[in-house]
């Protein structure tokens, strides 16, 4: 039987980058995404003996999302609306302008709705999977998705977001 640390090491190697990307999609900052992913893996390590291998990925997404939402809630009082978007979402060597505009628009969506959009559309999870992660109902996920898309559309300022962005 393999040791706990060896199993965890393999899991870390295989999943950390993906987790960091999901966190980045949620928070829009690579340093914050790194911290969120790291905190999630620390929590996973502490509970590792109790986690079943068949549910480990779902568990990681749950922990990651909770850490992100907790971070946003704690920082909510300090958040201020600013005229200029922070540098972290528009680095000079970033991709197409449309992608930057979409990311900027995504960051204006409230954190809970943003998490739903990222889990559904970036992580490509089903509605029941997202409901399980957030500890809410499928109907709530649907309504949060609708609200999130409405907010995203409004922030983007264009109903016809370029759907060919992926190939741009």
């Amino acid at each position: 039987m393999r040791g706990r640390d060896q199993e965890f090491a393999e899991f870390f190697s295989a999943r950390f980058e993906g987790a960091r990307r999901i966190a980045y999609a949620m928070c829009g900052s690579w340093p914050d995404a790194e911290e969120i992913a790291q905190s999630a893996f620390v929590k996973m390590y502490a509970r590792w003996p109790k986690i079943r291998i068949e549910t480990v990925d779902a568990y990681l997404r749950t922990v990651l999302t909770r850490v992100f939402l907790d971070t946003k809630r704690r920082g909510r009082a300090r958040e201020q609306v600013v005229a200029e978007l922070p540098e972290t979402i528009a680095p000079p060597d970033a991709g197409p302008a449309e992608r930057l505009a979409l990311r900027a628009a995504l960051l204006t969506v409230p954190p809970g709705q943003r998490a739903v959009l990222v889990l559904r559309f970036v992580a490509d999870l089903s509605i029941p999977q997202v409901a399980e992660i957030l500890g809410c109902t499928a109907g709530t996920v649907k309504s949060q998705t609708a609200r999130g898309l409405t907010a995203l559309r409004a922030a983007y300022g264009n109903d016809d977001i370029n759907l060919e962005m992926r190939g741009a």
Binding site: D5, R21, L102
Partner: protein, 295 residues
């Protein structure tokens, strides 16, 4: 139209962005993880030691004084051995206990992780929910005129609201029903601080294993305050009751869809500035609901 497929294609494009190198190492994670495990164990030991100490000191203080020393005399009247002094209640109602919130090592609120939802009994009927929920709110408020509106009723989830007239406009008592995983206590432990406020919730455990958890006010918005109580029943269903200082009109005015509960706890922008239920009344609603729905 920005539908689901279009959103998926557009948002997945964000994933193409080049990422900086990873700076987190496995050693860092394991080191922090081990510290976390040690801290959790130390906290458990500290709680046990504190409880033993309190019991010991309490026993010493209540022991009738005698000439041989060792005990502290409590007045001149011997302490009754048949009617022990009940512990002081720190709660709106007797039987509730404050649950300690243990912060993470980095000072953040604990972000408990629920167990995956599991098999559950049949959802209580609409009639049953309506009867018990209405009776519970009526008991707490002492009124019978309580318009109830179903927002949703499905096989494993439901959402229903009762509009409550306050002196400055409508508020709501909301009830969301969903399934959960693990035991009632595990689920309650995993939701110690669902709003991320770190405020200690109050808990009451019923004889059938049902766990009620009453949270402090959600203070994200002074205009639209809310307070929540969760009921974890052994049948696999949880009931989230919200005393909301706002109503459907406030959701609509804030551009929010009033048809579903909000998992982030974000209230609308407007509201009455106060809640329709006091903390004690919310506790009553929870108790009546928990006991009534299982019959």
């Amino acid at each position: 139209m920005f539908d689901d497929d279009a959103a998926r294609r557009a948002l997945q494009g964000l994933d193409d962005e080049p990422a900086p190198p990873i700076t987190t190492t496995l050693d860092q994670v394991v080191r922090r993880g081990k510290r976390r495990v040690l801290a959790q164990r130390a906290s458990s030991v500290a709680v046990v030691v504190a409880v033993v100490a309190v019991i010991g000191i309490g026993a010493m203080l209540l022991r009738p004084g005698d000439e041989s020393g060792g005990g502290v005399r409590v007045g001149d009247t011997p302490v009754s051995t048949t009617e022990p002094t009940p512990p002081p209640s720190t709660m709106p109602l007797p039987g509730w206990k404050a649950i300690e919130v243990q912060l993470d090592l980095d000072g953040s609120c604990p972000s408990g992780v629920p167990e995956p939802a599991q098999s559950h009994d049949m959802m209580p009927s609409k009639d049953r929910i309506r009867t018990v929920f209405t009776a519970a709110v009526a008991d707490a408020l002492g009124t019978t005129h309580l318009p109830l509106e179903w927002k949703k009723y499905e096989s494993s989830s439901a959402f229903v609201v009762i509009e409550v007239a306050m002196d400055n406009g409508p508020g709501q008592v909301q009830l969301e029903i969903a399934t959960y995983g693990g035991t009632p206590l595990q689920a309650a432990d995993a939701s110690i601080s669902p709003e991320g406020t770190c405020a200690a919730p109050y808990r009451r455990v019923l004889t059938d294993g049902t766990v009620l958890q009453l949270y402090k006010d959600v203070t994200f918005s002074a205009k639209a305050p809310a307070q929540k109580l969760r009921i974890y029943r052994p049948d696999g269903f949880m009931y989230i009751i919200t005393s909301a200082g706002y109503s459907d009109g406030d959701y609509a005015a804030s551009g929010m869809d009033p048809s579903g509960a909000n998992p982030t706890g974000e209230p609308p922008m407007s509201g009455r500035g106060k809640q329709p239920l006091t903390e004690a009344q919310l506790a009553i609603v929870g108790l009546v609901m928990a006991k009534g729905i299982g019959k």
